[in-house]
């Protein structure tokens, strides 16, 4: 064996691990374009990107949690709970503050604070109390889901109509024809990618997920890194909720059902390892787009029975992951 070169050589490797998700996305886009002429219209693209934003923003946070070796099943019901809380706070303060942007900002602040607190609770139970992440977040998942049902008295929490008109542009308007959810999703994704790839926090998260003992022996504050991934995810759930509430102006117990599984699926499709140790945010973004596109294409075409939508989605998820598997399974 020779000593390593002193200058790092840029190596060009076009392996499927990198190309897999991109390839799957390209194939889907081609299929969509062939099936329906409107698929590539600006309107449809805006629709798909905007509706991807909720799951997408959450999935970016989930990428860090999973990379650090954790899991969070509570994000869907957390989003529903935060949405409910945000609506209640805005409706409750309406007589005091009146309809207007100040009240919207109070609502936003509520969402962020509630998200931070919810993430902190998950993180605290997992790191300080040393309970399995799966169990903790399964528990909080049930808790938030029940809380929103309770807040809504079994029905639907609806934002005051006057406020709805004010807040609506947060989902539907934007700048230069790009809607706000898309802009926020893009910003979160870019920031996430930079932190994951170039930030000390991303490196530490990967180290903790790869082997928390090594991280501990290397003077990394393992608990703090873990905690921060959950808090970060909570904040992002809050941001996603800020984007969600303006769309329909309501929240109910059916809000955000199965978002957690979609977010986790997007993260894994994107090439992050479920057992932790390696994560990539850009992959997650592609995973989210793949999931949204499948639903969109199925709605735009007539060939497939709507009963089979879930099956088509399942097949494509599995294919996307097969494309990037490490090597042939042994044994």
């Amino acid at each position: 064996m020779a000593a390593a070169d002193t200058n790092p050589k840029p190596t060009m490797r076009l392996d499927l691990k990198v190309l897999g998700p991109i390839l799957a996305l390209v194939v889907l886009v081609v299929i969509g374009a062939m099936m329906n002429g409107n698929f590539l219209s600006a309107g449809n693209i805006t629709n798909v990107l905007s509706r991807s934003a909720f799951i997408g923003i959450i999935a970016v946070g989930m990428t860090f949690v999973i990379t650090a070796g954790g899991l969070d099943l509570s994000v869907g019901s957390m989003a529903a709970f935060i949405a409910g809380l945000m609506i209640l706070v805005m409706n409750g303060l309406l007589p005091v503050m009146g309809v207007g942007w100040p009240l919207v900002f109070v609502g936003m602040l509520t969402a962020i604070v509630a998200g931070t607190a919810a993430g902190f609770i998950n993180g605290f139970l997992i790191t300080n109390m040393r309970i399995e992440a799966f169990i903790v977040t399964l528990g909080t998942m049930g808790i938030y889901r029940s809380l929103v049902t309770w807040l809504a008295d079994g029905g639907t929490l609806s934002l005051d109509f006057g406020m709805r008109a004010i807040i609506r542009p947060i989902y539907f308007d934007g700048i230069l024809g790009i809607s706000w959810p898309i802009i926020v999703f893009a910003l979160v994704a870019i920031l996430g990618e930079v932190v994951m790839r170039r930030g000390a926090f991303g490196r530490h998260a990967a180290a903790v997920g790869s082997n928390d003992q090594v991280a501990r022996y290397s003077s990394v504050n393992v608990n703090r890194v873990r905690m921060m991934t959950y808090v970060g995810l909570g904040v992002l759930v809050g941001i996603a909720t800020i984007m969600y509430v303006p769309r329909l102006g309501s929240a109910s117990s059916s809000t955000g059902v199965l978002w957690e599984l979609e977010a986790i699926a997007a993260v894994i499709i994107g090439g992050t390892m479920l057992k932790g140790g390696f994560g990539r945010v850009w992959g997650t973004v592609i995973g989210v787009l793949i999931l949204s596109l499948i639903g969109n294409i199925l709605n735009l075409t007539d060939g497939v029975s709507p009963y089979l939508n879930g099956a088509v989605q399942g097949v494509i998820i599995i294919l996307a992951v097969i494309l990037q598997r490490d090597k042939k399974a042994e044994g």
Binding site: N36, F172, S252
Partner: protein, 315 residues
């Protein structure tokens, strides 16, 4: 509303099911699905209200109310009521017909009174009283309204709920009613009685179809998602959206003359209250209440909307 009842059956059932009455406290179990969407939320509200009211009226009655998030949980609830609360009567709105049939039959076989609400069991004749919603009637009334509102025919998209027999009956009734009217269903997808899902499906329908004359949303939750998508797309080809089940906000808009929501079709969640009340009456008096009691679906338009607006209901 029509009452089809058979007094002979009642007399028999009454002697079997209530050997000793009015002496000691009787327990009525109420088992219903949890509030997972707007209609179910309303149904939960009415069930709770009925229980509160009847407990005050009839001191000799005790109520046990359980809500289940899936059929398996509902089976457990009913078994628990049998085993631990020794119920004298059961009012059940089955999550699904098949899995609930034999547990409910076991309750009936034990001699307790059984009232089934909304969807029937897989085997006929188990229940003493059946308070039914009329799903094919719901579809039929909706279809007939569509035909009358679009005399020259036109292109519509239709939204279905969660795949169940209820959904199938409604859609079949609707399709039969628009048969030969020149109305064409150019797209049909599941909106799962959910606002978000329906919003997304409607966005895609709008991308796919250049011209849509009307939408059969079939449910007011789904109608809300559909309306938001139409508004966001800024399309004016759609003349109206027909929801269903009579959510109070939507009734109010019909009453106030909103052109997009000219009508509604009832499928009252309060049918659970009717069922509980009739069961209570049956258990405490000799009034005949057994048989089948169908609560028909009624068309609501601006003319009669005020009668159907219940400000206190959450739905």
């Amino acid at each position: 509303m029509k009452l089809t009842n058979s007094i002979g059956a009642f007399a028999l059932a009454a002697t079997l099911a209530m050997p000793a009455f009015a002496q000691d406290t009787k327990v009525i179990g109420v088992s219903i699905p949890a509030a997972t969407h707007g209609w179910a939320g309303g149904m939960n509200f009415h069930a709770q209200q009925a229980v509160d009211r009847l407990e005050a009226v009839y001191p000799q009655l005790d109520f046990v109310l359980a809500t289940a998030s899936d059929p398996a949980k509902q089976v457990n609830d009913i078994e628990d009521m049998m085993a631990t609360r020794n119920i004298d009567a059961l009012v059940v709105l089955p999550f699904e017909s098949e899995p609930l049939t034999s547990p409910v039959k076991a309750v009936a076989d034990s001699g307790a009174w059984v009232t089934v609400v909304d969807r029937g069991l897989a085997i006929e004749g188990i229940e003493d009283l059946y308070v039914a919603g009329d799903n094919s009637g719901f579809g039929k009334v909706s279809g007939e309204y569509m035909v009358s509102a679009m005399p020259d025919g036109g292109k519509i998209v239709a939204f279905r709920g969660i795949p169940t027999s209820i959904d199938n009956e409604r859609v079949a009734g609707f399709e039969a009613a628009i048969e030969g009217s020149g109305i064409e269903i150019i797209g049909m997808e599941h909106g799962n009685w959910n606002r978000d899902d329906s919003f997304v499906v409607m966005e895609d329908f709008l991308s796919k179809h250049e011209q849509i004359d009307a939408v059969w949303a079939s449910d007011d939750d789904m109608a809300i998602g559909v309306l938001a998508a139409i508004e966001a797309a800024g399309r004016d080809d759609i003349k109206f959206v027909l929801g269903g089940a009579g959510m109070k906000e939507m009734i109010a808009r019909t009453r106030d003359g909103d052109a997009m929501i000219p009508a509604n079709v009832t499928y009252p969640p309060a049918m659970i209250a009717t069922a509980i009340e009739m069961t209570a009456v049956g258990l405490t008096s000799t009034a005949p209440v057994s048989g089948t009691f169908v609560i028909g679906s009624v068309l609501i338009t601006q003319d009669n909307a005020a009668e159907f607006y219940y400000p206190d209901s959450p739905f």
